[in-house]
Amino acid sequence: MATKKSHVAAGLYGDAHTPATGFANVNVGTTERIISAAGGALLTYYGLRERQASKPLGLGLAALGTCLILRGASGYCPVNQLVGRDSAQHSPSKAIKIVQTFTINRPVAEVYGFWRRLENLPQFMQHIESVEQLDERRSHWKANIPGGLLNVEWEAEIVNDEPNLLLAWQSLPGSEVDNAGEVRFLEAPGDKGTEVQAVIHYRAPAGALGHGVAQLLNPALEEMVRSDLRRFKQLMEAGEITTIAGQPSGRGRDKG
């Protein structure tokens, strides 16, 4: 057990390897790029939504969002350039952890079993387009950032698999996306099903700017993980994902 734990820890916290950059002429690190793009799209989305509600705050969010998308998609950040900051290389980045928990009214074996078939994950992970199991441990992931602004692919590896208890993975070195996470499955007391806890680790860009970005984006990312898990619960308990997207209203068809 002890050895297993340390193995997981090494993998999860990403101390064992540094994220590859792979891009010659960019000043924004890959992780930062992905986060920028995802966060940017989210901010643009929320920003526009806010604006629809005619709050002045919306415009600012939308603008900041667009800037972040540009920065994520192009790998070039005008702000970084300006302050002479280069987060693409040798940046001591900060590990950030997101934890979200839901109780699912189904037996542990069923809940774990569904998740373990990684091909199932895109059914509830909103931004994952597909997951292909390459072998027992390795899988190939395709993601689609909201708005189709950025498509990314990477390979991940299961670093710990304890059936009906825990599943941990990390992206393989050299992947375009650097993330690691684990899901724990615990029988809930009082016959209430399974407590599912997702722990996601990612590395925020270094420095004051990176800190600011992370502070801005972390809630959005947390919300993203949370809504994915909620959809997982809906799928397991209700057999479908709750939505109003497509229903009529005086505004036409709702987007959701």
Binding site: T103, N105, K192, G193, E223, R226, S227, R230, K233, Q234, M236, E237, A238, G239, E240, I241, T242, T243, I244, A245, G246, Q247, P248, S249, G250, R251, G252, R253, D254, G256
Partner: protein, 389 residues
């Protein structure tokens, strides 16, 4: 199709909107035959429920005919005559499994929003703001019914549309009010509010063993309805001091069980009303809890307060000391439609209750805005206006 849409505070409009379609496999599409107003809609209309959006279709109490079912709908076919509960339940979460349908974990399409407001998301409700899922309501030609196998019930042969309709919302709410009140044989039950919900609570209290029901309101026609159809004794709060009168009528003990079927927009004669109204309007308090305060004072020691009148946010001057020291039990909630509907349909079919008497006006949907105005002002002795699209 046409639908009655919320445009803004006190502003409704019949608009042309797209027809609903099956979105999820457990959905059904129902052609609305009858769709009723409800006191809950007044809270939306008056702007006390946040997260309404311009264009939202309102209405949640309805019956009709199934026109299409999704591939996972097992119990219904095209042509079935159904009544649909106003609250949506997935049927698979722990709450639904335990018959606490209005607590459903999964039926709120905007769960994150509800979570922010209340800590945990509550169930979706048709036509009842985005915090309750943002579902299109029933004041329309057609409606999409998610989780159809759970929320729809076939209307038995011989039960007329007007009676089945109220098994959707008013009857289960009134019934749950009586059920939560834990009525013991011989109990005296006081019911605040003689709208559709109060009327149904009165009937239900008798069904569950009350010996006497005392109904409180100020509109003579509603009080008369409570007497003739509900066999209740009645009190007009504009004419008598309710606390004194209740004490008097219960041998000085106070009613054993008190039901609040009024909610956040209670009206009171005198200064208290303006105190609450002003605070509500400047948003220092969101709800006017006059009935709650009165029921706490009126209830006998160790009695039960059952609250189905809807509250949305915060209240002021809540007599916690009286509640605590008298050892009162509070039970409350949005009703668990699916739990009660089969039983209530039985009552209707057997002739124990014919809820159709609360229907006072039957209008075409085109007169929707006007109908709500009448219902709100309680003019023309309106208790419930029902639209037939």
């Amino acid at each position: 199709m046409k639908a009655l849409c919320w445009v803004g505070t006190n502003h409704l409009n019949v608009e042309k909107v797209p027809d609903p379609e099956i979105i999820n496999p457990r959905d059904a599409i129902v052609r609305v035959v009858l769709s009723s107003v409800c006191g809950s809609d007044l809270h939306l209309l008056d702007g006390y429920v946040p997260s309404m959006r311009e264009g939202d279709i309102i209405g949640h109490e309805f019956m009709g005919e199934v026109v299409e079912v999704g591939r996972e709908v097992k119990k219904f076919r095209k042509g079935d005559r159904v009544v649909v509960g106003s609250v949506l339940g997935c049927g698979g979460c722990w709450f639904c499994e335990n018959q606490a349908w209005s607590h459903c974990d999964n039926s709120n399409a905007h769960a994150a929003l509800a979570e922010k407001a209340y800590g945990y998301p509550t169930a979706g409700i048709f036509g009842y703001s985005h915090a309750f899922g943002g579902y299109a309501g029933s004041h329309a030609d057609f409606i999409r019914v998610p989780f159809a196998d759970n929320g729809m019930f076939k209307i038995p042969e011989g039960v007329k549309d007007e009676a089945a309709l109220f098994v959707s919302d008013a009857f289960p709410t009134g019934f749950m009010a009586a059920d939560m009140a834990d009525i013991a044989p011989g109990d005296v039950v006081a019911v605040w509010g003689c709208g559709g919900v109060g009327q149904m609570a009165i009937r239900s209290a008798f069904l569950l063993g009350a010996s006497r029901v005392i109904a409180i309101d100020r509109f003579p026609e509603r009080l008369a309805m409570a007497r003739t159809h509900g066999r209740a004794e009645t009190l007009n709060y504009e004419e008598v001091d309710i606390l004194e009168a209740l004490k008097e009528m219960t041998g000085g003990r106070g009613p054993d069980r008190c039901i609040d079927a009024v909610g956040m927009e209670a009206h009171t004669p005198g200064l208290e009303h303006y105190y609450d109204l002003i605070k509500q309007q400047i948003k220092l308090e969101t709800d006017r809890p006059a009935v709650l305060r009165q029921a706490i004072m009126a209830c006998r020691k160790g009695g039960t307060l059952s609250i189905v009148g809807v509250y949305g946010g915060f209240i002021d001057k809540f007599p916690m000391g009286a509640a605590m020291n008298k050892g009162l039990t509070f039970k409350m909630g949005q009703m668990h439609a699916q739990k009660y509907m089969p039983r209530l349909l039985d009552y209707v079919q057997n002739g124990d209750v014919d809820p159709a008497y609360i229907l006072t006006h039957r209008w075409p949907l085109e007169r929707g805005a006007e109908g709500y105005q009448m219902f709100k002002q309680k003019t023309d002795e309106c208790v419930r206006v029902v639209f037939a699209p």
